[in-house]
Amino acid sequence: MKMSGAEILVECLKREGVKHIFGYPGGVVLNIFDILYDEKSLELILTRHEQGAVHAADGYARVSGKAGVAIVTSGPGATNTVTGIATAYMDSIPLVVVTGQVPTSLIGNDAFQEADIVGITRPCTKHNFLVKDINDLAKTVREAFHIATTGRPGPVLIDLPKDVSAGSCEFIWPEEVKIRSYNPKYEGNKWQMKQAADEIVKARKPVIMAGGGVIISDASKELKQLAELGKIPVTMTLMGLGGFPGTHKLSMGMLGMHGTYCANMAVQNADLIIGIGVRFDDRVTGRTKDFAKGARIVHIDIDPTSIKKTLEKVEVPVVGDVKNVLTGILKNLKESKEQWGAVRKAWLAQIEKWKSEKPLEYEHDAKIIKPQFVVEKIYEITKGEAVICTEVGQNQMWAAQFYKYDKPRTWLSSGGLGTMGYGFPAAIGAQIAKPGATVFDIAGDGSIQMNIQELATAVINKLPVKVAILNNRYLGMVRQWQELFFNERYSHTNLDVVPDFVMVAEAYGAAGLRAEKPEDVEPVIREALKIKNRPVFMDFVVDWKEKVYPMVPAGAAINEMIFGEKKDKKRKFDSSELKIA
């Protein structure tokens, strides 16, 4: 059957199982939007900014495990997607982003609204395509979804010139996708899996470091089995939260720059690190040459480039899908006659000691709201069952520390790129993917202003997204660094004029609530939870002086943590002690 390029695109999206698209129109995508106008089985959610569209598609993907889809126009529409694409790329999130392009005859002429988006996004997409011939369109869409969702997932961009979407050709759906140069390796090498199991048997002080790969590969069950069988304590990277139950006895919480004392000490004293779906980035390892010095390393990842990228030595690399590899290791381990309980007794006792020595804490105050208290209350009231999105900064770290994630795909945060403005549109995408879920965006007063226009999107779609703004009137995380490392010179981090968030919300037709005293916190959250048909902004006026602890200064080893002053005066940080690499 002969179809137009726009029809072919939409037909392909339907066959890929797409139900929701996030987008924003413009000149060169008019043909596509025209087809979508009558399309019943595909809903386009109009965001108020293309960055919002891509983050929403990303949030949708993180919650559902399916590829998120965005369609935008050429030029500024396309360039506005770059931050969203780069965010998804860093966190391995499957997206298919379709950008309109000027007609092929005009490409290269600096035509109106022309941008070389394929060139611009080459380093921040898993792959991208410029479709020059309509006969390649169906195949390209198919390949885009295949590439985005297989192996280590990531964003794929399709640039679609106007004459291609307006043209027509015979529609042929390629039943099979085969890309000869792309064959991700899912099965782990048998011998290496055996070796990994042997390492676990030999180890006396093992630590599992679980990352986003566990969630992507849906391997929480296998991870839990491994930890429980071998009695191995588990720490998670920021991306790994939810991959292992935060309330589990073997959980040590997050590690790294703002990790728990226990997790960082355990890693530094371990004799074996089992890195599962992690990439050992600098926020986790601290000074690499002092990272887990006494440990042998087993590194499991589907992406061979992750292995030995930052670490110089890895004793047992296993390339493969985490779920398969863990299954293989478990099979080997089950044959072992090891008396795990006895073998791990001393190590687990040490872990417990670290846990109780310095748990995550803050000093509650009767008069002023502590931001951590807000997160704790949200945790308590939602019973840990909400989907939590975050912005970036202190709000993000407190949300990581004081909410315990028991299930995968309930924690959405821009880990690799650290994109302020991610959380709110991501929460919108998450809410669309899971209409019944309670979805929060734990936000900062700075970050929320980066995509605040998406209030309109949430209102019009009746999405009850709950935005908890930890309003400290500062770019708090940057201010924290200035306080600790720049002699309290608060250069351009005071937000001076913070809008009245309650009024902003109301102006958009959303609900606005405010808490100024600790006793207001719980009623405000409960009130917000009652609102089911529109978004709500909760403005929590919090103590601006509060800092995120523990903290490992950039360039330090991860056991060189600094702590809150009150709790531990002697450990007050002195920057002259540090050898910053």
């Binding site: 080459r122 140069s181 030995k308 110089e312």
Partner: protein, 168 residues
């Protein structure tokens, strides 16, 4: 350590940009890069000369493999192989020097591909050592222009070409 890496790629629009962008974006060094079609017009081959310690070279080959359009990566460090490069040198020797310059070219099996009243252009092919030696000898003869193709490499007979696509 210097490595010669061959990369078989899909002969598609933008592939060279993907490869060169990978090197610049990740701070890998490129000493030379040559590209051409293979017998199969759908496939191109790039020969890249790069430097780095083992960890970096490992990253380079893995990152290359990770690109969707890359079919195969061969690090010739691990393979018995032959390397060649071609250069064209235009020299303007003085009248007295001409015979000597031509004789030197002959010794190096150079070919005169152009000559005029004032200049000769010599084509010379060889491995790095030979070319360097030749260029050194030509220096006194007033080199006016100098272009080189960049190296290409091929495995010797009987050597199994090892592909490192997707291997650890």
């Amino acid at each position: 350590m210097k490595h010669t890496i061959s990369v078989l790629v899909e002969n598609k629009f933008g592939v060279l940009a993907r490869i060169s962008g990978l090197f610049s974006g990740r701070g890998f060094n490129i000493e030379s890069l040559s590209v051409g079609e293979t017998i199969d017009p759908q496939i191109s081959i790039m020969t890249i000369i790069t430097r780095g310690d083992d960890q970096i070279i490992e990253q380079i080959t893995k990152q290359l493999n990770k690109l969707i359009d890359v079919i195969k990566v061969i690090d010739f460090m691990e393979v018995e192989h032959v390397e060649r490069e071609m250069v064209l040198i235009k020299i303007a020797p003085s009248k007295n020097d001409r015979p000597e310059a031509l004789r030197t070219a002959e010794i190096f099996r150079g070919r005169i591909v152009d000559s005029g009243h004032k200049t000769f252009t010599i084509e010379i092919t060889g491995d790095e050592k030979k070319i360097e030696a030749f260029v050194e000898l030509m220096k006194p003869y007033n080199i006016i222009e100098f272009v080189r193709t960049g190296k290409v490499a091929i495995a010797r007979e009987g050597v199994k070409k090892i592909s490192i696509k997707n291997d650890q």
